[in-house]
Symmetry: C2
Subunit: 534 residues, 2 copies
């Protein structure tokens, strides 16, 4: 193990402090050294008597504590290692994805986010590269972060296995910045393996969902996951930007609430000082209060909690809600059209701005491109029932659609209209929450709608009742304790414009846009009835 | 009470349904009518035998259920009632802020968000305006939402009390869309009254904080509150946009966690199916795990929970955290400078994009414009201690600053450097969390920083320890149960770049940017130990 001189701790400040500090720092450095020695032991045996021409050009850094060493060193990103820079010497900090030492050479792959480049460490007198250095690199644990100083060299044939294929990096210095442990709980290459059935690769080891989630930090390093969560950030950004441009105001609603707002089922209880409270199942009541408070059009992005013991591919106990609410003048379709257009704009934004990320996900998962119409397709509930009936499924006019019905309907709609997104309007009143406005012409029907992606519901919304007496009547009808929603009902005694809105499950949007099969793939640290870690 | 014919329910759909529907709808309309009659009774006595030339031009709409009436009616916004449209007839939907009937005339103020215009209803044969109509308008309850059809008329002298001062609206039709109750728990004019001490208005009725919060929907309608929450939306948007432009990725971290991550104090417990869990006190561990998972630079905006029984002007039990974390190459000052620049850019954005909102807040609260430097001022802890010492306050070199110390320091910094924002670097290690990286040169000092606005802390941050053994040692030193943060520590066994970050309290930023005196003014529905409603 070699520590270059510039890595020695420096001592500054007044004498009294610095003496002590120096002592401590020296001790710390010694400790660090021991650890590094241990780590590097197999790579660079101290016993070897042969002189090492690479001495001082490799090893393990002591802990990077911002002491200011190398502060003028400029690093180059892997993606910027281009053939135009052939012959240039650069510093690169990246993960060692894989390495294979063979005699006097070691081939390795360096990875930065999802970009990769080949690293060649080859014994060379000219470059002062010793076989000890080659061996050292061959022994660096996979996924360690290393600093490499090397020359950008154009390759004779493209390196097919790397995203940077025209050049490789020929190293003359290699330093370990942060070592990964030797036995990783999963291999990135296994976690990243394509899931296509017709692929011979499919026979190789796969990593199951729980192993992935138990070791989420590693799992998230696959190209598909790097892409999924960048797309997810894009969904949120597009949602907010599109609505902000349309005059919506972002609000924040409390997650701790005094009463289970929507009937008391599926709600988590929180101990709140000497009393107890609940976790909000939606920002529903608050975004409506914001409308009553003259904010006119509002949206909110935040955590939503459901104490539902559902262990399915599409349920989480905590998810991110993209909620919006909007006053309207004449008809709730003003709102429905705004939401529909928001989706269309979002889908267009994803398609145009995230093409490479979508392709990355496609490398691992079979992804049919998401299809949508502009303006989006809107059907009415009776039409859906008719389509299902023609396909041999009977649904009552006051029944909700089951999940299999919804999926079948999605396929029928796709076949007939060639769209993966559509709006289903005019749900039966009986299957909607108490605050849903009934249809003025049919007491069994409501001014409510769901929106679907690839046959799964991703938004539920409606015109809300803005009349306090009628709202009270409907709440009682649903068996809701009026005293617990007093502040909510009171809002409508203060004058409130007609309004409608909806709530979107963010993780579902990302899952279904990408055609993934499990919502746990689109929640960075998912929560379900059986999982609250990591 | 008059219901115009076009307000009658129409019947559509197939015969069987429509018969029933028509019956129900008719019943509903009857009910509605009764209610409306009751409401409008004082305004439009049915007994009056005099013929009414305004019949059919005023009254209370039945509940707006999106039946499609008036669908082609175009409404004009109050802000668009300009002198250039003098003589035009328009429909306006707005709140009736105040009204004053006097014989054959009624003067009223219409309000839309924060814009206001004078409404004149005056008996006129030409316009078919009867004294019944004038009386009806005079009796509409304050804060009701009404539809007005009227003529835009240039006023002889500006209407000082309205934001639209060059024109007034002369009504020929007035309809109540949503009536407010007669006895409001607070008056908007009281809630909006300027708080300046030298103002004679100051002697008039004020509305105390609890009354405001108990009736938040009304309180939020004041021009200052309309502005505050638009500025707050701006703070979030600027924070995200600035970081997104710098290559940060937005992430979402779980709020339900399995163990109290930061020592166990001040944490809310949640019942989680047959077990229990906790509410996250910060996204700290998760954003660091995202860094270990190769996301390089991340931010997150979301709810943060503190079970602290602190009833002060600046503590909430639930607030919105603006958190960021970033890997760096050499020195945590790369991150510190990024955060500092983010604030500077945000302050500039607020100043440039929200001038009118800032002025609205200034109308009610005394707001000194917020001053900042570019680049921001950075001081080191010993400098702060020295400044305080010179001002007669002694702080130990390993002590934290008390709130009064911080405020005094803020005043000293303002006096010396003319900035309301500054960064205080290099806090004593003893007063920082276990995961804080110690200074390499002084074991009593850490690579950590706070940032201040008007002398109050709004960000706390640091370089984090990315070495698992050292982190374990420091956690033990802080008495933390290692088994409970196993997944967190494990992240650093998988290779992790050096990184630093910080967490910002959104409501504090808005409060201090605007110079407000209580954080409850910048939380739409604040939560403190004594308040979980509305």
């Amino acid at each position: 193990m070699v520590v270059s001189e510039e890595n020695q701790p420096t001592v500054e400040g007044d004498a009294a402090v610095s003496k002590k500090a120096a002592k401590k720092a020296a001790k710390a450095a010694e400790k660090q050294q021991k650890k590094a020695d241990h780590k590097a032991a197999s790579g660079q045996p101290q016993a070897e008597s042969e002189p090492d021409i690479s001495e001082g050009h490799y090893g393990t850094y002591k802990l990077l504590q911002s002491s200011g060493e190398h502060r003028d060193r400029v690093y180059t990103d892997v993606k910027d290692l281009t053939v135009g820079k052939n012959g240039q010497d650069v510093w690169v900090r990246a993960r060692l994805q894989t390495s294979r030492a063979k005699g006097k050479q070691c081939f390795a792959v360096l990875r930065q986010t999802s970009t990769t480049v080949q690293l060649l460490v080859s014994v060379s007198e000219e470059k002062n590269v010793s076989k000890q250095l080659v061996k050292f690199v061959g022994n660096i644990t996979k996924e360690s972060i290393i600093d490499v100083y090397g020359t950008i060299v154009k390759t004779a044939t493209p390196v097919e296995s790397c995203t940077v294929s025209e050049v490789e990096l020929v190293a003359s210095e290699v330093w370990v910045v942060s070592a990964a442990k030797a036995q990783l709980p999963l291999q990135i290459e296994d976690a990243a393996r394509p899931e296509k059935n017709d692929d011979p690769e499919a026979l190789k080891i796969r990593v199951n969902q729980d192993t992935r989630l138990d070791n989420r930090v590693l799992d998230l390093r696959t190209p598909a996951n790097q892409a999924i969560f960048r797309i997810e950030a894009g969904v949120c950004r597009l949602f907010r930007d599109i609505l902000t441009k349309r005059g919506f105001v972002e609000i924040h609603t409390p997650k701790i609430i005094s009463a289970a707002s929507e009937g008391g089922a599926n709600v988590f209880t929180v101990s709140y000082f000497k009393s107890s409270a609940y976790l909000a199942q939606s920002p529903q009541l608050y975004k409506q209060m914001a409308i009553a408070a003259d904010f006119d059009k509002v949206f909110t992005v935040g955590a939503v909690f459901r104490a539902e013991d559902s262990n399915t591919h599409r349920h989480l106990t905590e998810f991110v809600g993209l909620d919006l609410e909007m006053s309207f003048k004449h008809h709730y379709h003003e709102v429905l059209d705004t939401i529909g257009q928001t989706f269309t704009d979002m889908f267009r934004g994803l398609r145009d701005e995230f093409a490479s990320e979508i392709a990355s996900v496609g490398q691992q998962y079979r992804v049919e491109p998401f299809k949508f119409l502009d303006p989006p397709l809107r059907l009415e509930f009776p039409q859906a029932i008719q389509m299902l009936k023609e396909a041999g499924v009977t649904v009552g006019e006051e029944d909700d659609l089951s999940t299999p019905d919804e999926k079948l309907l999605g396929r029928l709609v796709k076949a007939k209209y060639d769209t993966d997104f559509y709006i289903l309007d005019k749900y039966p009143l009986a299957v909607r929450p108490f605050y849903t406005m009934p249809d003025p012409n049919n007491p069994k029907v409501s001014n409510s709608y769901d929106m679907f992606m690839r046959g799964e519901e991703i938004l539920s919304g409606a015109q809300r009742i803005h009349d306090p007496e009628f709202l009270t009547e409907r709440a009682k009808h649903h068996g809701i304790d009026i005293s617990k929603i007093a502040a909510y009902i009171e809002s409508f005694r203060l004058g409130c414009p007609p309004h409608a809105g909806g709530g979107i499950g963010m993780e579902r949007v990302v899952m279904l846009y990408l055609g993934l099969d499990n919502i746990r793939k689109t929640s960075m640290f998912p929560r379900d009835p059986k999982r609250v870690t990591p």
